[in-house]
């Protein structure tokens, strides 16, 4: 996905998707690559992390089990 940095409001960057101008994303400036400025166009890649999801689920399930069996 491509998005423009429409503006910076304090510590928040307001991004607008180039595909859908009604889609605005508020993002902390600290999460942007260094040197970003108003008007820059960003490449945003979003991927599913299936193995990470599975691991996290297992971890949380383990915690629940431990809590249930706690004496």
């Amino acid at each position: 996905m491509k998005a423009t940095i429409d503006r910076i409001e304090g510590a928040t960057a307001v991004l607008i998707s180039l595909d859908d101008e009604a889609a605005r994303i508020n993002l902390p400036v600290s999460l942007l690559p260094p040197g970003c400025r108003e008007g820059d166009i960003l490449m945003i890649e979003i991927e599913r992390d299936t193995s990470g999801t599975r691991k996290a689920k297992d971890r949380v399930s383990g915690r629940i089990e431990r809590l249930k069996n706690r004496k």
Binding site: T4, E9, G10, T12, L18, E21, E38
Partner: protein
């Protein structure tokens, strides 16, 4: 140059007298109650065009478009739209235009290309014919802005890049002065290059600053252009990055409108800005709380309406749906001991000749006061003040008049000063440069006691004109 109208008479004076009585008698809560007798032809929910029934008046609607800006000016069938909110607000702005019977926008102003100002433009220019676009002309690569430019090109709409000093002649009675961007604009900061307009009708000025930041404000002060305005559209939704104390002092507004969305993620308006406005006695309206704010003017004076929210249901919270902004905020909640200035029973709205006559001293009264400055009075001498108003139909020469506290010692002696009919002057305790609406006692220490003081106004012969405690 008189900032106050020489003759602030005519239709608006009907309302002030009624409003002042209501306000003084019972304070804020009754304001709504007073409204039963006041009608507002400009507020229409029936879908009739108000352009036909209110010719010769300026109407400014600060539209409630959530977090963003959009303001609509109507004058004698001419329409100006300044900004159009976010993308999804385009329909709302168009709906507003159509409900007023607008068939053409004479001047469309895009203050700067941020989406909360120009997002809705696309819908607007696709729906309503536009005479001319005035733009900041900054190459911002956002989809909203690009589509806007693309449509302007396709529809062959005349396009002008705004530059300081330009004027616009859509109507000879409406003076439109472009104050920003400066000629040497740097394209780096979009807010700093916002199109700033001062739109004047008669003696009433409206200052539209877009999202201009403090640096831009400083630059504007240095140009020496007139910035004073009765009504200020507060810069950047009330962000603390705009509205510096120096800028506010230069604009010296009576009324401020903050165009801002409820619970926005940026914390607008910032407390710093609200505090500054309050400290300066500015009447503040907010589109997040008041909905769409309407300012109506006959060129001599103006009224502010709220409570006509078209975008959401008005809640039961009492809002000041009618107010005369020239009355200061503090008169709204009077002390129990406030005395009502006597209004002649047979007082009628005078029709005045073009040249003001010499008036009667008894027309001057103490219309408001602030003995107790916010914070420490010693640090804040110019927040101690007494306001005098000429409610008559002639000018009054106040040279040699005096204003004193309860002790009567060391009274302030007025310099050569004329108070015009229908005008007010505020006498501040501290230092400053006198102008049409302000006089300064030049004291080092507070004059007025915060509790139980009384101001006495005497004419040059020592006759008591008015007292207020």
């Amino acid at each position: 140059m008189h900032r106050r109208p020489a003759q602030k008479n005519g239709w608006t004076h009907r309302a002030p007298s009624a409003a002042a009585v209501c306000l003084v008698l019972a304070g804020f809560a009754i304001v709504t109650g007073c409204l039963g007798t006041v009608t507002f032809p400009g507020f229409n929910t029936s879908g009739r065009s108000h352009l036909a029934e209110n010719e010769g008046k300026l109407y400014v609607y600060f539209l409630d478009v959530g977090q963003g800006d959009s303001a609509l000016f109507f004058y004698e069938g001419k329409t100006i739209l300044v900004d159009a909110g976010e993308y999804e607000m385009g329909d709302r702005v168009v709906g507003e235009l159509l409900s007023h019977g607008v068939t053409r926008i004479d001047l469309l102003v895009a203050t700067h290309p941020h989406s909360d100002h120009i997002g809705g433009m696309q819908t607007v220019i696709e729906t309503v014919p536009v005479g001319k676009v005035l733009d900041a002309g900054l190459p911002h690569p956002s989809p909203s802005y690009e589509h806007f430019l693309e449509t302007i090109e396709q529809k062959h709409i005349p396009y002008q890049v705004a530059q300081q000093g330009q004027t616009n002649d859509i109507d000879p009675s409406l003076r439109i002065l472009v104050l920003s961007p400066p000629k040497d604009q740097s394209a780096d900061d979009l807010n700093a290059n916002s199109v700033v307009l001062r739109i004047s009708y008669g003696v009433i000025d409206v200052l539209m600053t877009g999202d201009l930041g403090r640096e831009g404000e400083d630059a504007l002060i240095r140009t020496g252009y007139p910035l004073d305005a009765e009504i200020l559209k507060v810069g950047h939704h009330g962000s603390s990055s705009s509205t510096s104390p120096a800028f506010l002092a230069r604009v010296h507004p009576e009324t401020a409108v903050i165009s801002v969305g409820e619970d926005n993620p940026y914390g607008h308006p910032h407390t710093e800005t609200l505090d500054l406005l309050e400290k300066n006695g500015v009447m503040v309206y907010r589109t997040d709380r008041d909905g769409t704010v309407l300012v109506r003017s006959d060129g001599m004076s103006y009224l502010v309406n709220t409570g006509m929210n078209v975008s959401k249901v008005v809640t039961g919270t009492p809002v000041p749906v009618f107010t005369l902004p020239t009355l200061p905020r503090d008169i709204v909640i009077p002390l129990p001991s406030v005395t009502l200035p006597s209004f002649p029973e047979n007082w009628t709205i005078p029709s005045l000749p073009a040249v003001p006559q010499i008036g009667n001293a008894s027309w001057i009264y103490i219309s408001a006061k602030q003995f107790d400055a916010p914070g420490d009075d010693r640090d804040n001498l110019n927040n101690e003040w007494v306001r005098l108003t000429n409610r008559g139909e002639g000018l009054v020469l106040m040279s040699g008049w005096t204003l004193s506290d309860r002790t009567g010692s060391d009274p302030y002696v007025f310099p050569a000063y004329i108070l015009m009919p229908g005008s007010s002057v505020t006498v501040y305790s501290g230092k400053g440069t006198m102008n049409d609406t302000s006089l300064f006692m030049g004291l080092e220490d507070p004059l007025w006691s915060n509790t139980n003081d009384q101001a006495t106004l005497k004419d040059g012969n020592g006759n008591i004109i008015d007292q207020k405690s």
